[in-house]
Symmetry: C2
Subunit: 660 residues, 2 copies
């Protein structure tokens, strides 16, 4: 606690300081009370307040409150208006946060005035970010006209959410609409235009609870693409958050004996590894070792997000000044963690974990880590290829600068394509990708028996460990792991990536891989159903949509039984919205233009949303059998759009309608 | 003071906190001592140090030092290597700055290793920023090849600077070269790629002294264009610094009874007005009133810098998300400070000061401010025009958003072009712009008499006030004021701007205006000679170059007699470098391409430098009678370049040579 006291002319303030990082937060609050008798006008600070009696309570040294006593007659309504100003020492353009909070409070208008600005700000956000899915009954449609004159901003309200029975099918589309907007709302509560330029990342659990202590994980893999579609400057800012922690990632790689940069599995503000070493099992009360920091695939997530951003925006300045350095240092890490297996004549990655946290080690092993996690190995190969691309894209002079600054040796660069092309990927018979080497040697799991005994078995790890067993022994996956590739890339791309590495992986193998893991996944992470909904779409659009509906339930119904109150699941929220954009509308932002490959499940009546491509906005509207694309009038250049495989140019303000 | 102590295994640290803003600074230092006896290898912390005896001195609570006693024999050399790590609480990606400083110190290599990285970083900067002017004797030419293998980074050294007698003509070109590099060095010390994204501005006196307490003034008008030529992302970051203080500027306008945003004349981190109200005259010891905060033209400087950045880069995202709001709010301010004079049928701006701080008020007036400062009025008109342009450039949807968010009324927008076109500008007979209304009614000044009596009369204000007189009474100017327009714009542009306002201002009137004020200016600001060097160039290239040489002396010879030790003059430093680029090479970065209109004074033998335009680099080389332009190979698109009025496209890696 730094200071507290009374605000002149009205209110109270408190300044707190965090213990370790010494961030300061300043808060000032004023409370105004009025009744019908005084015409709902609270007393001005210089007037005698006949409605209430006030007393400031600050007996304790780190707590302040205002105690207000109001005489209330039977049936009388009392209006209490509380206004709070909040600043942190990391806000821009301020002195110390306590003073700023006091000044802001003094300058703040009353509730009605603040509400106007609030609605206007949200209306502008909804105009960009809304995704309409054609609900049966009208729901607030914020993407429409100007709402500055006090109309509803379209935010879902608590009352709306409770209207439908959880999980009930009645009025299902309206509920889908509502949950999608709830997800968009939470995404924007966590990361918004206000975030741009602040040195903050996208915490896995949003800003809505203390779970994971605000740490940043690989979940941003699901979150950042959401912003590419509307405001890539937000993605850029989140990528810069990683850039400013590149030195910590270098240090972590060095400590672990690797070259380049190894971003930690979990990190807080200083960018250092913050993953727990022990894990509490609430079912048994036991603390067990936690190997989850061995999830090196977080490094691939960062490169993926950089690459997606670069493809969507063509922001060469970012690539040159920041992105390239991260991609190169991560590629270097992958090359150094890969070891040559002379017998196989393949590179391998040993001692890591995939996204499936049920498998931390082999059942009989002392230490954590597995051999050749397929997802990790393919992504490592892909990252090395992108690093070589990046060296071309930044141009000769910047390339020379980077090579000098990073002390990249020629032999090192020569090795990258070799490692990329000769990376080992484990397969099961029939072309199914093996999650990691030895997964199929594990014991089959008695799904029905456990479901019978425990009901919800999403957190199988805790159940098994409480029984003295471990999921390490079984063919069970907490979440999508091997199938992640099909989430991140289009089927053609995955086929080509693996072909380049010398493996055949055709559509049938993909289908078998998806089915194989659907039957072995407990969905112990909210991300899992999101990924499966997205990849199953390739096999069966309607079945994918069924999974999509399930994925939507994660937070609104708190399907994990209590985790939502500790913080929403930002990755799953972004991932579900992305399914509508990337799968049902089939939007992809490429250097050549906007690609649209729509396939709408029959459950949805219509999809409407806006996407942004290189300074221009497109309004997309998909109905059964027809897709309409309208460009804005803002810029003179036409927008290249590929629909159903055919490129066309849409001039400013024009609408193109395509029968599907 | 927050903490201090010993660093394990070696060194000491201290964490300080500023009183008002509570910023923290953490510093850790280690000192290693070695002699030839031990082969210049300092003792490792775990070894007995036979060379020296150490003691940590921290008796005081806010001070720590290391006392090292070394036995030194006659003629013996002792090598002391001190390494310091420094962090502030506003650095990105760190925990608290003390811990970071300790960790960085532990990770830091020895001097030789640090020097390699230092040289590499400076070599990269010099490769971009150097300006060669063809010195007679070889000077370090850092723009050349790769210097990573330990070559000199080309920084001017103290020894170099002292080689020439101050002001002496011998070896003049080498000295010009050296001072230009000194200026570039100081600019990069203050604002560099490291600055991008930090919430910091360009302080008028750099980071080299305590004068002006680190405040930001209009001087950025001279500084920001310097970065446009090489790394506009730096300009963008400096403009965002202003954006994050827009609310403070709005508050200041409101308090003064105006609409929109009125940026303060001086401001610190919180963006509020921080100009002194009293001024100490060191000659008399008297404190007198200070009206300098009435310099509203700082608002025009911000719009000018936004506009220049936008023209140079085409960064529509910046304009939409940040720039437009500042331009619109400043335009609004200008429209509200302008009052209609029915008699004249003109708008006027009353009660302001121009850049010439010798004139704070009319001699007989009680309060500060003058009527119709010509520079201010023309810039106000120009800003209003740019605001209308901006509303077009951002596109219809963003325009609607801005109009709603800023509550811009139609009548308000309708008034802007009217105010812009009907703004009053005072003129003297013969077409000379009158600095402000009534300037020519003031008494002529006895320049020769005062020069005889006082020698250096640059700070005439102090001399006159110490005599009980005031410069308010005389036709004297501290610095360029009316002539600023010709510094900021090309002669054609100024002619057109005034024509639109209904005034004739041809080349002859410009020449007369420049001469008129050259004869009435004491150059009491280091910016003054820079401006005159730049505008006189239009009349007489050789005479302009003579003034340019004088302007170069400002800091290196501390011509103001002691002000340099309080901090370098960043605006003058940037302004002089800009003369080489904007006048001698005649570079202008436009949406259509790079315009080159070279005119090199005979004093310079050759000019070589690089400029950046929208992702591409151009190498420029000017020799008498010939200009060579080479583009880099980095991007496939050709660069449009206009030389001598004729546009041509230069393909990647091509050189174009034009006879002049």
């Amino acid at each position: 606690m730094v200071g507290l006291g009374r605000v002149v002319p009205e209110g109270i303030y408190l300044i707190a300081r965090t213990t370790q990082s010494r961030f300061e937060v300043g808060e000032a609050a004023r409370t105004r009370v009025s009744t019908r008798n005084d015409g709902w006008t609270p007393a001005r600070p210089d007037e005698a307040d006949t409605t209430s009696q006030r007393r400031i309570v600050d007996e304790e040294t780190n707590r302040i409150a205002e105690e207000i006593r109001v005489r209330a007659g039977r049936g009388e309504t009392i209006r209490v208006e509380k206004t709070v100003a909040l600043f942190s020492s990391h806000d821009r353009g301020i002195g110390e946060p306590g003073r700023e909070a006091r000044l802001a409070l003094r300058a703040a208008g009353d509730f009605d005035r603040l509400l106007v600005a609030h609605r206007r700000a949200w209306a502008a956000l909804w105009r960009r970010y809304d995704v309409e899915v054609g609900a049966e009954r009208p729901v607030p449609a914020p993407a429409g006209g100007d709402r500055t004159s006090g109309g509803s901003g379209g935010e879902p309200t608590g009352a709306d959410l409770e209207r439908g029975e959880p999980g009930a099918e009645h009025d299902g589309l309206a509920r889908t609409q509502l949950i999608l907007r709830l997800h968009i709302f939470h995404l924007l509560q966590t990361v918004s235009p206000h975030t741009v330029g602040l040195d903050v990342g996208a915490p896995a659990r949003g800003l809505h609870g203390e779970a994971y202590r605000g740490h940043v994980f690989w979940d941003e893999l699901f979150v950042l693409p959401f912003y590419n579609f509307r405001q890539p400057s937000i993605t850029r800012s989140l990528l810069l958050y990683r850039y400013h922690r590149l030195d910590a990632a270098r240090e972590l790689a060095r400590e672990a004996g690797y070259a380049g940069a190894m971003y930690p599995w979990q990190s807080g503000h200083d960018g250092r590894e913050a993953t727990q070493q022990l894990h509490l099992n609430p079912l048994s009360g036991d603390w067990g070792p936690d190997w989850s920091h061995l999830q090196r695939h977080v490094n691939a997530a960062i490169v993926y997000n950089i690459w997606r951003y670069w493809r969507a925006t063509g922001d060469r300045e970012f690539l040159r000044d920041y992105g390239a350095e991260m991609v190169l240092e991560i590629a270097r890490f992958w090359a150094s963690i890969a070891s040559w297996n002379a017998e196989r004549e393949r590179y391998e990655i040993i001692g890591v974990m995939g996204p499936d946290e049920y498998h931390e080690k082999y059942p009989d092993a002392e230490t954590g880590g597995l051999r050749n996690n397929a997802y990790t190995n393919v992504m490592a190969s892909w990252c090395l290829r992108r690093a070589l691309d990046v060296l071309d894209e930044v141009g000769a002079s910047r390339r020379a600068e980077l090579v000098a600054a990073l002390e990249l040796e020629e032999e090192e660069l020569d090795r990258w394509p070799e490692v990329a092309d000769r990376m080992f990927v484990p397969f099961v018979d029939g072309g199914v990708i093996e999650q990691f080497e030895g997964y199929t040697d594990l014991e089959p799991f008695d799904w029905d028996g456990y479901r019978e005994r425990y009901g919800n078995i999403e957190r199988l790890d805790r159940i098994l460990k409480a029984e003295g067993d471990t999921p390490d022994r079984y063919q069970v996956s907490k979440q999508a792991d091997a199938t992640m590739l099909l989430y991140l890339f289009e089927p053609d791309e995955v086929e080509q990536m693996l072909a380049r590495m010398g493996y055949t992986f055709d559509r049938e193998a993909m289908a078998r891989t998806i089915d194989y893991y659907r039957g072995r996944t407990s969905h112990g992470s909210t991300l899992s159903k999101t990924v499966f909904a997205s990849v199953v779409h390739h096999l069966d659009c309607e079945e994918g949509c069924r999974l999509f509906q399930e994925a939507l339930r994660a937070d609104v119904e708190d399907v994990q039984g209590g985790t939502t109150r500790e913080g929403i699941h930002l990755g799953a929220m972004a991932g579900t919205v992305a399914i509508v954009l990337r799968r049902y509308l089939g939007v992809e932002l490429t250097p050549e233009g906007v690609v649209l490959a729509p396939e709408m499940p029959s459950r949805l009546r219509r999809i409407r949303c806006r996407v942004h491509w290189r300074g221009r906005w497109l309004d997309l509207e998909l109905e059964p059998g027809v897709l309409r694309v309208t460009t804005d009038r803002d810029l003179p250049e036409p927008v290249p759009v590929r629909i159903d495989g055919e490129w066309r140019e849409i001039g400013p303000g024009e609408t193109t309608e395509v029968a599907l």
